[in-house]
């Protein structure tokens, strides 16, 4: 088990180094950083000075190492070309909006996805199950941004119940601005959270359903039935736990991608988060912001992957005994 964890951590570090390299290459080769910093009025002396300031005259591996050191030790992600402020500050300002949105969406996707998945598996041939399954297929084909627009049209334009953009009023607690504490903040959260969570919810639901159906056909469920255990116990204790083992992996990864999909939702709802920042950075080729976003999201994904693997271990006793079987396909 320890060997497995060490191997996974090592893999994660490799992934992060590769991503770091991509990010650094962005800085180094996409656009000219000197030009970006100095603008139009520059002299040859200026260029030389900035080049050595940035260390561009040193060998590539040294530059890369310094770049990584700057990030890890000083939290120095560079300065936004467009806003002229440290990227770290901008991201810190924007992060709470995205994280709150992602959290509520994930909760929504998880709770509803698992319950509907279990329901449609147990009542396999019920009309409600069939209706839910059909709807879910439409849901998978429906692009996120269309769902957002649809919700805006119905609940903001036609009914006028909920705001169509922004975060509403926020409260500042330390460095964190939260929309959880005001009515308008909570109301503003509803539509974006549903938009962002719906797709993941559908995926989780379909996955839970198919796994659950598989488990319900298994011998140990039949044997539990033959022992006269109450059906509620069989469904929610025996079958659900076995269902969740494979579901956890994929669900974990899905939840990670919620942060990435937030880019779309934030654009539709003009939600002032990191995703909107990233899209704007792409449109204006603001390399430091792009690279930082990429690195942060990689750290997040790699961490989630790692947690998912460890969670897997703690749920499935078979993996504790022989680590070699873990993670293998």
């Amino acid at each position: 088990m320890l060997a497995f964890i060490i191997r996974r951590v090592a893999q994660s570090v490799v992934v992060l180094l590769v991503v770091g390299l991509v990010a650094f290459s962005l800085f180094r080769f996409v656009g000219d950083p000197v030009e970006n910093l100095l603008g139009q009025e520059r002299t040859v002396a200026d260029i030389e000075r900035v080049r050595s300031q940035l260390g561009l005259d040193q060998p590539f591996p040294v530059q890369y190492f310094k770049f990584l050191k700057g990030i890890v030790v000083d939290g120095n992600f560079g300065v936004s070309y467009r806003q002229g402020r440290p990227v770290a500050d901008i991201i810190a300002e924007r992060a709470p909006a995205t994280l709150e949105l992602a959290f509520v969406s994930a909760l929504f996707a998880l709770v509803l996805g698992i319950s509907l998945g279990v329901y449609t598996a147990i009542r396999r041939d019920g009309w409600l199950s069939n209706a839910i399954m059909t709807l879910s297929l439409v849901g998978v084909s429906l692009p996120t941004f269309l769902i957002g627009i649809l919700l805006i049209y119905v609940f903001a334009v036609e009914l006028g119940w909920l705001p169509s953009f922004g975060r509403g009023e926020t409260v500042k607690i330390g460095g964190w601005t939260t929309g959880f504490l005001t009515t308008s903040g909570l109301k503003a959260l509803i539509l974006p959270a549903i938009t962002l969570g719906l797709y993941q919810m559908t995926l989780i639901m379909r996955l839970v359903r198919s796994e659950m159906l598989e488990v319900l056909r298994s011998d140990y469920v039949k044997f539990a039935d033959a022992r006269g255990l109450p059906s509620r116990r069989i469904h929610f204790r025996h079958a659900l736990k076995n269902t969740l083992v494979p579901v956890i992996t994929i669900t974990g990864l899905q939840l990670g991608s919620i942060i990435a999909f937030a880019i779309i939702t934030e654009t539709v709802f003009q939600w002032p988060g990191v995703g909107l920042l990233f899209i704007n950075a792409i449109q204006f080729v603001d390399i430091p912001v792009m690279a930082t976003y990429l690195m942060l999201i990689s750290v997040l994904f790699v961490t989630i992957n790692l947690i998912v693997d460890l969670l897997y271990f703690s749920i499935d006793p078979r993996l504790k005994a022989d680590g070699s079987a873990g993670g293998g396909h």
Partner: protein, 329 residues
């Protein structure tokens, strides 16, 4: 009340729809089982023996269902109970042992959890009492160091040990009848006899009846009091195990006995029955065995023989229609 046999199966018919037609998997099967008796149920795969077992414990999988006849436990019908009522019977009054111990146990729960759960569903016991009882059961089925191993997970046991655990689970609430469906088929030859011994010993100590479903006549010969031979969903012959083995009446049973090496000690030639059992959608008119029978005559292809008494046995074969005149031959 007391003169009711423990189990009485009358004209049991199980059918399932397939491509528009109804296939009959169990066809008009009747037999009684006395308290403490061990009945062997033999036949080729597909002969309907497992389906008969599933019908008795009420676990026929949809779309299959009992379409005729009755099943009574101590004179009370159990084939028409509601699913909640049937759960009181399963495990508590009828226990079941499945074929494959590797898949019969839920891999994510310890042996203790599965045993204690089953005991407490059926018997009014505290968790502590149930655990004591579970350890006792494991000792009885021959798990060494039961009080420590009880907290292990199924994958930590060998196949033979797991089947012992399965037997302990089936007997957890002291059922009066145990249905063992091919309990040794998936096991190593070396442990098969041990498992049968354990099953037999525990049931006889409790005066519980056993229906032992198998295609292994050797096991039946050593274990059962009576044997019922099934062919294409129908009972071919039923009677005391000694008489059936020494002097089979039904031509199919004769063939079956002739094909067992250990029992044909006087003659080293093995007899083979030509042909194979018909598929369920293609059962011949009259006696289902007639195309393969070497004693076939006109009546066999026209009318289906009912079970008829012949000495201490019942047999469904026209050869014994007029038992008095035929038996002297």
């Amino acid at each position: 009340m007391t003169d009711h046999p423990l189990l009485s199966v009358k004209n049991l018919t199980v059918q399932f729809p397939s491509r528009g037609a109804m296939l009959t998997a169990v066809d008009d099967v009747s037999f009684d089982l006395a308290r403490g008796e061990v009945l062997g149920l033999v036949g080729e795969s597909g002969a309907g023996k497992s389906m008969t077992g599933a019908a008795i414990i009420g676990l026929i999988e949809a779309p299959g269902r009992i379409t005729g006849g009755s099943i009574s436990l101590e004179g009370k019908r159990i084939d028409n109970l509601s699913s909640a009522e049937m759960r009181q019977v399963r495990g508590r009054r009828i226990g079941m042992v499945f074929q494959d111990p590797l898949t019969s146990l839920n891999p994510l729960f310890t042996i203790a959890e599965q045993l204690v759960e089953t005991i407490r569903v059926h018997l009014p016991m505290s968790a502590r009492e149930a655990r004591e009882r579970a350890i006792g059961l494991l000792n009885e089925v021959g798990i060494p160091a039961a009080s420590q191993r009880i907290d292990d997970y199924p994958h930590q046991f060998s196949g033979g040990m797991r089947q012992r655990v399965v037997i302990a689970l089936a007997l957890a609430a002291e059922p009066e009848l145990v249905i063992a469906d091919e309990p040794t088929t998936a096991l190593d030859v070396s442990v098969q006899a041990q498992i049968i011994d354990v099953l037999k010993k525990l049931c006889s100590e409790r005066n519980a009846s056993v229906i032992l479903i198998t295609h292994d006549m050797g096991v039946i010969a050593e274990t059962a009091d009576r044997v019922a031979v099934m062919y294409a969903g129908r009972l071919a012959e039923i009677g005391p195990v000694r008489s059936v083995i020494k002097d089979a009446l039904h031509p199919y049973t004769k063939g079956l006995m002739g094909s067992i090496p250990s029992l044909t000690s006087t003659d080293d030639r093995l007899v083979q029955i030509p042909g194979s059992m018909p598929r369920l959608n293609n059962i011949p008119e009259g006696c289902a065995f007639n195309p393969r029978c070497d004693q076939v005559f006109a009546r066999c292809t026209k009318a289906r023989p009912e079970l008829m008494h012949s000495g201490n046995r019942e047999v469904s074969c026209w050869l014994y229609d007029d038992a008095a005149s035929e038996a002297t031959a």
